[in-house]
Symmetry: C2
Subunit: 331 residues, 2 copies
């Protein structure tokens, strides 16, 4: 496959970025993806926070993950940092400040800034020679244009198909990505519904120079998500996931489990989004790590319907690249 500008920017073989997800994307998964030629990403710090409310301790937990990743790969890898100003984690700034400090101290090659105020950390990170990818949340073309001005190196556009939070604009990947590509000069990385060679080839056709894959890596052997979540992905159909609106209308996509059905009911009853958000958040660890389908949330994207197998992260990267090449050759 032809290298894109993103490959050169990051020094990676294949423009496949493993999306960071709360609690389930640590050193093992990130290093496996990087070793396979993609970009593994540790994170997010919000995940570490759930273990502790101490700022310094959170930073040190992240430092351990970074050092462990370095011990497992000598390839480029990344760390996720939250830069949400409002909404989802209003009290997260001290934690993000501390994690950014650690990322700089440890000389991490790439930072993935998730949220809506990249300018908060861009200068500090780039000053330290760190490449900055920005995953905007919420996302649309206007937001992408503003973000580009902050000095980021590449922009990650995740459509309505994506699992977890995807913003309140509900613009699907298929229409979001080409419009963002037209609007920006820097490379655009497409996310939301990208799980195999078909969707990766399509993302490249839409003008993306890389893909951002979350759900596709939950089923990786190296991902500590519970087996029940992995099997739920394997058994999912095209209509298995649904969306609900959390704080500020920010969309959450997840499997239709009993807890999510309750959230939908609350939405229909006109309950406050704070209440709904509190409820679905209470289910993350129970679902993703403990596999509790009744009281937990199984967070993954609409592309799950195309995922059929559990594999190692290395095989996932290898297969998607081979499939993409094959499709592009056939066309």
């Amino acid at each position: 496959m032809k290298k894109t500008r993103l490959c050169d920017l990051l020094g990676i073989d294949y423009p496949v970025i493993q999306a960071p997800m709360n609690l389930i994307t640590g050193a093992e998964l990130a290093s496996a993806v990087s070793n396979a030629g993609g970009l593994g990403v540790i994170g997010p710090n919000a995940g570490a926070r759930e273990e502790t409310n101490d700022v310094v301790e959170t930073g040190e937990r992240l430092r351990q993950q970074i050092r462990k990743t370095k011990s497992l790969t000598n390839k480029t890898f990344g760390v996720n940092l939250m830069c949400a100003s409002t909404d989802l984690r209003p009290d997260s700034k001290p934690f993000s400040d501390q994690c950014t400090k650690v990322v700089v101290e440890e000389g991490v090659p790439v930072a993935v800034l998730a949220g809506d105020e990249p300018e908060r950390y861009v200068k500090q990170l780039k000053g330290a020679g760190i490449k900055v990818l920005h995953r905007a949340l919420p996302v649309n073309v206007e937001i992408a244009k503003r973000a580009e001005q902050s000095g980021i190196d590449a922009f990650i556009a995740v459509g309505f198909e994506g699992g977890g939070h995807t913003g309140f604009h509900r613009v699907p990947t298929f229409v979001l990505v080409p419009q963002v590509v037209d609007a920006l000069q820097i490379p655009v990385i497409a996310g939301g519904g990208i799980v195999n060679g078909r969707s990766m080839a399509a993302a490249l056709a839409l003008g993306a120079e890389g893909v951002y894959i979350g759900t596709g890596f939950i089923v990786a052997t190296e991902c500590p998500a519970h087996q029940n979540v992995k099997w739920a992905i394997i058994s999912a159909s095209d209509t298995s996931t649904t969306t609900i609106a959390g704080l500020g209308g920010i969309v959450l996509r997840a499997l239709k489990t009993p807890l999510i059905e309750r959230c939908i009911q609350m939405e229909a009853n006109g309950n406050a989004t704070e209440e709904i958000t509190k409820l679905y958040r209470s289910g993350y660890r129970k679902g993703m790590l403990e596999g509790d389908r009744e009281r937990g949330t199984f967070i993954f994207g609409a592309g799950a319907g195309s995922i059929q197998e559990l594999k190692s992260a290395g095989e996932i990267v290898k297969n998607i690249i081979e499939e993409t090449e094959q499709i592009l050759q056939t066309l």
Copy 2:
């Protein structure tokens, strides 16, 4: 560009299907698309119905459109027929029966059966040597599999991005199309958000063998939609359209005009979908033909943000094919 199975099936040069739309896709537009090497489609009969409640008169109006199309092109063209069982037009069966009879009598080469009971007309149409494309509404993988059993020649899968009605499953094109392609043997035609070479190349990468374009042809010179609608498409951004749920939860995508905002408010207030549907239907002619932005609906898809120019239908087909070829070559 490589011909797909759909080109051979229909005897067309390029796998570009012009989507039929109420009142605005008659003989002039359909013949122009067919003359350019795509498939123009007259329709739908529901459109003719709005002029008259007489079954025979509806059929004769369609017959005139068919004859006019024949006088304007000697290429393959199609006619839209409604096969909705429940829902949107519960009293449409006598009209559809009559239109099907006319289509058979006139020897129309292709029928596009829209709705959820293709088996109602497949045998009659195929017995007369007519190729049958089926645009399922609602649509998902299960529905596609059942539809294939009815004997249709190709399946049209329109994602959540599409303008107008797209069913209640809200599955975006990017995840719907590859899963339908995997599930079926017959050619799949992708719709929803396809407006230019980028999205057509992406649709082919997803495994589609043709594209189904509505919004992209509203801006055609030959389309009688009001200039205000055409300019609204040209000026649209990625977030200009929205969706509301009509009868049975069937999603309608349209520009956020005052009437649609009222529908959204009614939805939030818990009004019955019958009432909401009645309101938005009242705006179709006012909006699409009379250009009344205040009291009308401007029905188009989320891909509008990528449309920048008014052109003839021939140029639209030519440009999309050239762009697609260029993108596929670059990749």
